[in-house]
Amino acid sequence: MPGKTMFEKIWDAHVVAEEPGKPALLYVDLHLVHEVTSPQAFDGLRMAGRRVRRPDLTVATADHDVPTTDRSLPIEDPIAVQQLEHLSNDAREFNIPLADIHSPLQGIVHVIGPEQGYTQPGKVIVCGDSHTATHGAFGAFALGVGTSEVEHVLATQTLRQAKQKTMQVDVNGPLPFGVTAKDLILAIIGQIGIDGGTGHVIEYTGQGIRDLSMAGRMTVCNMSIEGGARAGMVAPDEKTFDYLRGRANAPQGDAFDEAVERWKQLPTDPDAAYDTTVVIDAASLTPMVSWGTNPGQVTQVTGRVPDPASFGNPADRESAERALRYMGLEPNTPMEEIPIDRVFIGSCTNSRIEDLRDAAAVVQGLRVSDRVGAMVVPGSYAIKQQAEAEGLDRIFLDAGFEWRNAGCSMCLAMNPDQLLPGERCASTSNRNFEGRQGKDGRTHLVSPQMAAAAAIAGHFVDIREWKN
């Protein structure tokens, strides 16, 4: 019998029921819940008189709507308040643990899952959020679902799924100097296209992936959906086990060692076959910047804004023309000459302590450009505390950054953290769609180091040349 991929092993271990011609019923080990995509699901349960089957496998936090400013003050937006209160009531009524904005456990849902040890290899993890793919960095099958499926999981602890195809993305060597996990995933999306992974689960392999920290692997898996794949994953290894050892909700003591032995069985067998394999030439990677209005419209920082005429496909040409109009960019402008107004360091893609350390190292002893407003939003309360213990907050504040409380913030701008019309932002987030960070705002996706350097310089710079 041929070997199995990691995805197939996890899939097979979670099939509750399967009939020909019908999607399988998969068991869900962990259901993460937040305020935006859950209220209608809880109301659906109430209307049908249903209960939450496994509140003990369900964890909720408030992250999308929450203000990142002083939390002792009342929230000004009454509709956000209503949504946050809805979640509090739902959690209380259905007995689900909730980290609300006053909890030391609060943070972005995809940051706190791993941080608190809920995220573990081999699990099936769902959340009503497309960036659930983040958790695949631990060798889990983690995927985003809609509100109807949130309700389905709450009621049944299962998900009906047609089995995806597998795509291997193999990063065939070490990442060159100055190239981060963020640059890597932007380059991957640029190569496969924003629908290249549709219908697939991506497994990231190769030295370029193995060398990454867990934070880096999370950054890569996080943006799988930006390449069209509902899930991305990385085989667990010693780094994974070291990360999880001792975390509150991970197995403890002997149980942890037993779990590690099980987790070691997860990686893809040598003779297993993927449906598709894409090779990323690691040596050719450079720091990346997006120029357009989707995460596949990217180029090297040393590159130029493309000329739409250079696109062969008429639909892509028209898409590039629209993007340049929206972004207020002229073809062939060197990326490094584009001035910026705002910098956002945060989001489930890049708000972990490693990201903040990397950004702080770039800005240490320097000042944010007079023309730039810059903010750092840690991914969780715990990361904020850790950063403050290391003095990173002082480095950012002394440089002229704002230092905020944890949440999704300006990644999707549901709270007051928004771009003004026409403002141009270097952002460590994951989407540069029109209006994503505020109506008529212009987003360029970059790594934390590149965002930090852009804040100081007032324009994009090649981080490989940076000196401070």
């Binding site: 999607p23 935006v36 959020d129 809609g146 499926e149 602890q157 924003i194 069209g228 769609f433 029109e434």
Partner: protein
């Protein structure tokens, strides 16, 4: 869930690729806790100027498409966020079915959960419908889920496929959760074997 069997309606051309869910329903409307009332927010930032007046250059505001209930769109429709508010807004505005050469996975699934039928056709067939919808006033197609065909009564007909189980649920308007709870025994057995 509303059942979907057969639907005939005017086709609105959304001739753009990679239309993301942030455009279909911008984030400021996701703070609502209701499941209904999203129709006025559909394509909000494309549909209205900053002062709230309709953008007459956006296809949804063209007089000829006021009654449209079928949308034909460029490839990878519905990419981005998992927000189910996107199919809710489309459906509550009056769309019953969306035709494209490809859809983003989560959006596709969310449509099926709500009886909004996503129809995948070849690029060639999509192009044909797109051109007709732009050039022929009041151009209509019939989408028949029983026979899995799209036709226009003027010689165009194309077949599409859909997961058989999803088709059954749509044709009968069946609630997924109710069906799954019929398998509760299997879920309980699975849980006890793993405990």
């Amino acid at each position: 869930m509303d059942a979907f069997t057969v639907h005939t309606g005017v086709v609105m051309p959304m001739d753009r690729v990679n239309v993301d869910t942030d455009q279909i329903i911008p984030k400021q409307f996701l703070k609502r806790v209701e499941r209904t009332g999203y129709e006025d927010f559909l394509f909000f930032d494309w549909r209205f100027h900053a002062d709230g007046s309709p953008n007459e250059e956006f296809v949804l505001n063209f007089p000829g498409y006021k009654e449209a209930s079928v949308m034909v769109a460029g490839r990878n429709f519905g990419c981005g966020s998992s927000r189910e508010h996107a199919p809710w807004a489309l459906q509550q505005y009056g769309f019953r079915t969306i035709i494209a050469s490809s859809f983003a996975d989560i959006f596709y699934n969310n449509c099926l959960q709500n009886g909004l039928l996503p129809v995948r056709l070849s690029e060639k067939d999509v192009d044909h419908i797109m051109i007709q919808a732009k050039e022929v006033p009041g151009y209509q197609v019939t989408v028949d889920l029983a026979s899995c065909t799209v036709s226009d009564g003027q010689g165009f007909s194309a077949a599409f496929s859909l997961d058989e189980f999803k088709r059954y649920c749509l044709l009968n308007g069946l609630d997924d959760i109710g069906l799954t709870l019929q398998e509760e025994g299997a879920i309980t057995t699975f849980e006890s074997q793993r405990a």
